[in-house]
């Protein structure tokens, strides 16, 4: 089995899986019907991507594991999503800030992944770019609305950006699988996305009349499977049925 490629795919897919799951918690509880529909839609897009990635990973694993086994039957330390996406839905400002800080990265990443030598990954990227362009526009618009809305919304959005900023740097850390895949022309060199990312993010924050956080202290660990305490609870729900009723078809 191509272990590096398998790990690499998990690194991409886990971000969409965990963020999709977080958004799924909100369905039916949004501030308006329109935002409810939009957030559910983003969740749907992300899970659609997850399925494509994990079906491919299952094929590479070649040991009868299914997409669901990969998504739902790993242990806490085996999930390699970035810490950013597992952060909870504290309020709508946090949800949108998390989304935005991820979307900007996600789109830049996919635009490079589209050029991958791996045709499956390239095809998934092409399809996802359309979806993620919409996600980025949606979350970016909300950054502006809430940043440049009322005093209350500005305070909340600033809090959210300040609180989540510490998780942004991890997006650009390279794992061993990353390095191996970049060398083979399959993977994306995330270190090269960093500059454009902060430029884009800062532009929107400025337009939203928000302060760009100055903190240079960043958290990391997600890519090595060392997560915040939030992830365990998310996994408990995600895995509940597969754990309670093992080896069944649904």
């Amino acid at each position: 089995m191509k272990q590096n490629l398998y790990n690499y795919i998990l690194g991409i897919a886990d971000n969409s899986l965990i963020l999709g799951q977080r958004l799924g918690e909100l369905t039916g509880h949004g501030p308006s019907l329109e935002t409810d529909i939009a957030c559910t839609n983003i969740s749907l897009d992300l899970f659609g991507q997850v399925r494509s990635y994990f079906q491919y990973a299952a094929k590479i694993a070649g040991d009868n594991r299914t997409e669901d086994d990969i998504a739902m039957l790993r242990k806490e330390r085996e999930y390699v999503n970035v810490l950013l996406v597992e952060q909870p839905n504290r309020d709508f400002a946090y949800t949108m800030a998390r989304q935005f800080l991820f979307d900007v990265y996600h789109l830049l990443f996919l635009q490079k992944l589209e050029k991958s030598k791996d045709l499956t990954l390239s095809a998934i990227a092409t399809k996802s770019i359309k979806e993620v362009s919409y996600h980025e526009r949606f979350s970016g618009d909300w950054i502006k609305r809430l940043g440049d809305g009322t005093e209350e919304s500005k305070t909340k959005m600033q809090d959210a950006i300040d609180g989540l900023w510490t998780y942004t740097d991890e997006l650009f850390h390279q794992t061993e699988a990353d390095k191996a895949m970049v060398a083979e022309g399959i993977g994306v060199d995330v270190t090269k996305l960093k500059e454009t990312y902060y430029k884009k993010v800062n532009e929107i924050l400025e337009e939203a009349t928000l302060e760009i956080p100055e903190s240079k202290w960043f958290q990391k660990g997600g890519k090595d499977g060392i997560h915040t305490e939030h992830l365990g609870y998310l996994l408990a729900e995600l895995q509940y049925m597969q754990r309670a009723y093992p080896n069944m078809e649904w």
């Binding site: 019907l33 935002t35 559910t40 899970f47 809305g149």
Partner: protein
């Protein structure tokens, strides 16, 4: 307008309906017609929105990615139904905010069935199969109802509902054909959802207050009891097909009527839930009111932002 003129308009109005013409938002209509439609359409919209909660309850715990995606899409469809039914209400001059207010204050009703809890995954199958199944029976005739915006909304709603119903049945089928544990989940869900689904088609004709007028306006084509019979006759063979047992010892095929006879419905339970004392009434309202109140600052910010943008645009124009 004189009394005679009004009578004249009313006569013309009823004649149009009798000719199967559609009534459109700007047409003259009796006040009672307007009110009845706002009541029924908003009740329907509220049911879609509250109905998102019991199913949303299982999104994070769906057993497979395929099921999770399907459930997300289904709940999203319900939000969409709510959205265009509220819009249809708006054509009669009532705002979505006013309708929410009626829901939150308890003045407006929604389908009582959503006051039951979804306790296992199998409930996602049972709700789709039975609840959406009963809803379709109620709703298909509304595709030809007299009020244009409602009729057109219902065409789309019914298409999606029938997809949901098949999806729910497929979940049940998979469980019923699965392991003994899975079959037990399916049977248990059927046991809990069967009677509330029958109640969902409304009180018996003798006790239904709105039926006659609604029939005339094509807001209703069949009586509650007829719809219930249709639902039972349609659903019993489906349960048999997947080897599940309808929890009614009195259920029996009646050769003469070419229909199923069935047992007594516990109407006390129905009225208890309608009056707000079902297992989940308080929870459902708490969730709806909570989402609305917690979202207020977001909606205010969106308005404020739009106003600022508009002001900047105007300034530029000068």
């Amino acid at each position: 307008m004189s009394e005679e003129q009004i009578k004249n308009l009313e006569a013309q109005f009823e004649a149009r309906i009798a000719r199967d013409e559609k009534i459109e938002p700007k047409d003259w209509m009796p006040e009672k017609y307007r009110k009845t439609h706002i009541r029924q359409m908003s009740q329907h919209a509220h049911s879609e929105i509250v109905g998102m909660l019991p199913e949303g309850n299982w999104i994070t715990r769906a057993p497979s990615l395929r099921r999770k995606v399907a459930l997300l899409a289904k709940v999203q469809d319900e939000a969409g139904h709510g959205l265009y039914l509220y819009s249809a209400c708006e054509t009669l001059g009532v705002s979505r905010d006013e309708l929410y207010e009626q829901l939150h204050s308890g003045k407006a009703k929604y389908s009582s069935i959503f006051n039951y809890p979804t306790v296992t995954w199998a409930d996602m199958g049972a709700v789709g199969w039975l609840v959406d199944g009963a809803a379709i029976i109620n709703q298909v005739p509304l595709c030809n109802t007299s009020y244009g915006p409602y009729a057109r909304a219902m065409v789309r709603v019914c298409k999606e509902e029938s997809f949901h119903q098949r999806q729910g049945f497929e979940i049940m089928m998979k469980l019923a054909n699965g392991t003994p544990e899975q079959k037990e989940l399916a049977q248990d869900a059927l046991n809990r959802w069967w009677w509330p689904s029958l109640m969902m088609l409304g009180p018996t004709d003798a006790e239904s207050i709105h039926t006659e007028q609604s029939m005339k306006w094509k807001l209703k084509r069949k009586s509650n009891d007829d719809l219930r019979q249709q639902f039972i006759d349609q659903t019993v063979p489906q349960a048999e097909l997947i080897g599940l047992t309808i929890p009614d010892p009195d259920l029996k095929w009646n050769e003469e009527r070419q229909s199923y006879d069935f047992g007594e419905i516990n109407w006390d339970e129905f009225w208890q839930v309608v009056k707000g004392h079902g297992p989940m009434n308080k929870e459902r309202m708490k969730a709806r009111v909570g989402a609305w109140e917690e979202g207020e600052w977001v909606r205010d910010a969106a308005m404020a932002h739009a106003e600022k943008k508009q002001a900047r645009k105007q300034k530029q124009a000068i």
